[in-house]
């Protein structure tokens, strides 16, 4: 029987586990990817700690996490509740807000650059012509991270709303009706029935958000490459740049280890919550 699991396991170990262990090892070596690695001890981590770009990248990861724990989650919760109240519109609207999620990130990134943010061909250009003076946010080191976050929110929040909606639809109708008969308005219903009703899903999505926020790469690499002036640099773009453009794989590996550490913490919190939940329910 165990032979059935072998091919999947073998591919997974060769492609993910072995290189992951190597990354962890490479973090303690000087290595350009081609030559012989030389033992470096903690030098990669020390260099990183002395690099202001690393700290601003890490800060940006925290900002990103804070944004994604709040903005898309609130939007999605309210939207899911609204769709729950409007069963007729549900199927069509659900598909519309889900659509951004299936469009390739590379394409979405370029569309936002050209059609939204561009001061020549985008909505920003149109606003400038109509009396609102807005400069290209992608060209501003202080605002580029938020502009990219806006693109990712567009791509992400509708999916999240659909997830919350399917969780809310599993709440028994009786419970919702009972709250209504007791005179609960939209806000009370939201606060005391819908949110508690989807608690497990909500917690899982929040934990995943933390994990993903420390891994974020694609949108930033495609839209700003971490720039301008490292303004939107995050750990993943920091690592990628060191590995492939600066030939310092050891440094990249060290950054990747730091990234994974935050993911690991989030996973540990999740497991801990699961265990305490189990303890409470029994």
């Amino acid at each position: 029987m165990w032979l059935f699991a072998l091919p999947a396991l073998l591919i997974n170990i060769c492609i993910i586990l072995v290189p992951a262990v190597l990354t962890f090892t490479a973090a303690f070596f000087m290595w350009d990817g081609v030559g012989t690695p030389a033992w470096a001890g903690l030098a990669n981590f020390q260099n990183m700690a002395a690099d202001p770009v690393f700290w601003s990248a890490l800060t940006n990861n925290f900002i990103w996490t804070a944004i994604f724990l709040t903005v898309p989650v609130c939007l999605a919760l309210v939207m899911a509740a609204a769709l729950l109240m409007a069963p007729k519109a549900r199927i069509v609207v659900q598909s519309i807000i889900f659509l951004p999620r299936i469009i390739a990130v590379a394409v979405t990134g370029r569309i936002f650059q050209g059609m939204i943010f561009s001061p020549v061909t985008g909505v920003v250009a149109w606003l400038n012509e109509h009396g609102f003076s807005i400069s290209d946010p992608l060209a501003d080191p202080d605002r580029s991270l938020y502009a990219v976050a806006a693109v990712d929110i567009w791509h992400w929040w509708g999916f999240l709303a659909v997830v919350f909606l399917s969780a809310m639809r599993q709440i028994s109708v009786d419970q919702i009706e009972a709250a209504r008969l007791d005179g609960a308005g939209f806000l009370a219903l939201f606060r005391y029935v819908l949110i508690p009703g989807i608690r497990p899903t909500l917690i899982l999505m929040l934990i995943l958000t933390v994990i993903w926020s420390f891994q974020v790469f694609e949108f930033i690499f495609i839209v700003t490459r971490g720039g301008p002036a490292y303004g939107s640099e995050v750990l993943a773009t920091f690592a990628y740049r060191h590995a492939f453009f600066e030939g310092d794989v050891g440094q990249a590996a060290a950054a990747a280890c730091v990234m994974s550490l935050f993911g690991l913490c989030a996973t540990a919190v999740y497991l801990w919550l699961q265990i305490t939940d189990d303890a409470q329910s029994t």
Binding site: F4, I15, L22, L83, A104, F112, W154, G185
Partner: protein, 275 residues
């Protein structure tokens, strides 16, 4: 559900605004794909006065979209095949076997879902470079198989769990070997799950960026996404043509999405919704 008037109005308003903002960038892209660059510059929000379909033909020609779309289809097909072949038997075993060892394997696969690409990308790239596997489409499909199969295993496992054990026992009593039971009894019952897996894995392979842009560097074998990325930049000038290329790359996905919405939405939200 009976909602009061205030929350009804609020809901409908929100739904309107949300749908509008989800569609706006897509509509702008399609609209401007049919305009000349001059027209886009003068007003990106205006409808095209004349439909410039030639943007599509020149994008097709200049960007060499044909071969790169073919490569995307190759990668997606190979990945779907490899994931289905390896994940299905694995899911079946994980659904049936109990005990510490199998719990550990299950946890291992769960862990690899949340592992960042960055944690294995760099050594993997330099190993593949040494083995001469950079610029190879099957090699990229192999990486995708490792990346996407944990998701497939967990989705298929729920299908396998729903199959009554009595069916297998009956087959065993009749003298069927394990692989025969799997092939003739289990596999046919997992078919709906396999369709969902094929759709989601195909979508992910078609859209994937990091691995594709790192491992495919030769213009002669890049996927459509990488081709599009390489040709365009923040300071692109010919937006009409660029958007025509974008629409061409996204169109197959959107058509399949419209036809098979249930599988898309159920497949992608599976695992996220907990009861």
């Amino acid at each position: 559900m009976i909602a009061d008037r205030w929350s009804r109005t609020f809901s409908l308003g929100l739904i309107g605004v949300a749908s509008f903002s989800s569609l706006l960038p897509i509509v702008l892209a399609v609209m401007n794909a049919l305009k000349t660059t001059v027209e886009i510059g003068s007003n990106p929000l205006a409808l095209p006065t004349q439909l410039h379909w030639e943007n599509f033909s020149s994008a097709w020609r200049n960007a060499q979209l044909g071969p790169s779309l073919l490569h995307s289809a190759e990668v997606a097909t190979l990945t779907i095949l490899m994931v289905c072949i390896t994940a299905t038997p694995c899911a079946y075993v994980l659904a049936r076997q109990k005990g510490k060892f199998w719990r550990f394997i299950t946890f291992y696969f769960m862990g690899t879902i949340t592992v960042p690409v960055q944690l294995y990308l760099y050594p993997l790239y330099f190993i593949f470079a040494k083995l001469g596997l950079v610029n190879s489409i099957p090699a990229v499909a192999l990486i995708y198989t490792a990346m996407f199969s944990p998701f497939a295993i967990f989705l298929l496992r729920t299908y396998a769990l729903a199959i009554p054990v009595a069916l297998e026992e009956a087959a065993q009593v009749d003298g069927a070997k394990p692989w025969q039971t799997f092939w003739y009894v289990i596999l046919p019952m997992m078919r709906p799950g396999l369709l969902t897996v094929a759709i989601i894995v195909g979508l992910n392979a078609w859209n994937e960026f990091v691995i594709a842009v790192t491992f495919l560097q030769n213009d002669s074998n890049v996927t459509a996404i990488v081709r599009f990325y390489n040709l365009t930049g923040q300071y692109s000038t010919d937006w009409g043509e660029m958007l025509a290329a974008a629409v061409t790359i996204v169109l197959p996905i959107v058509v399949i999405f419209v036809l098979l919405q249930r599988q898309f939405i159920d497949g992608m939200t599976s695992g996220a919704v907990k009861s």
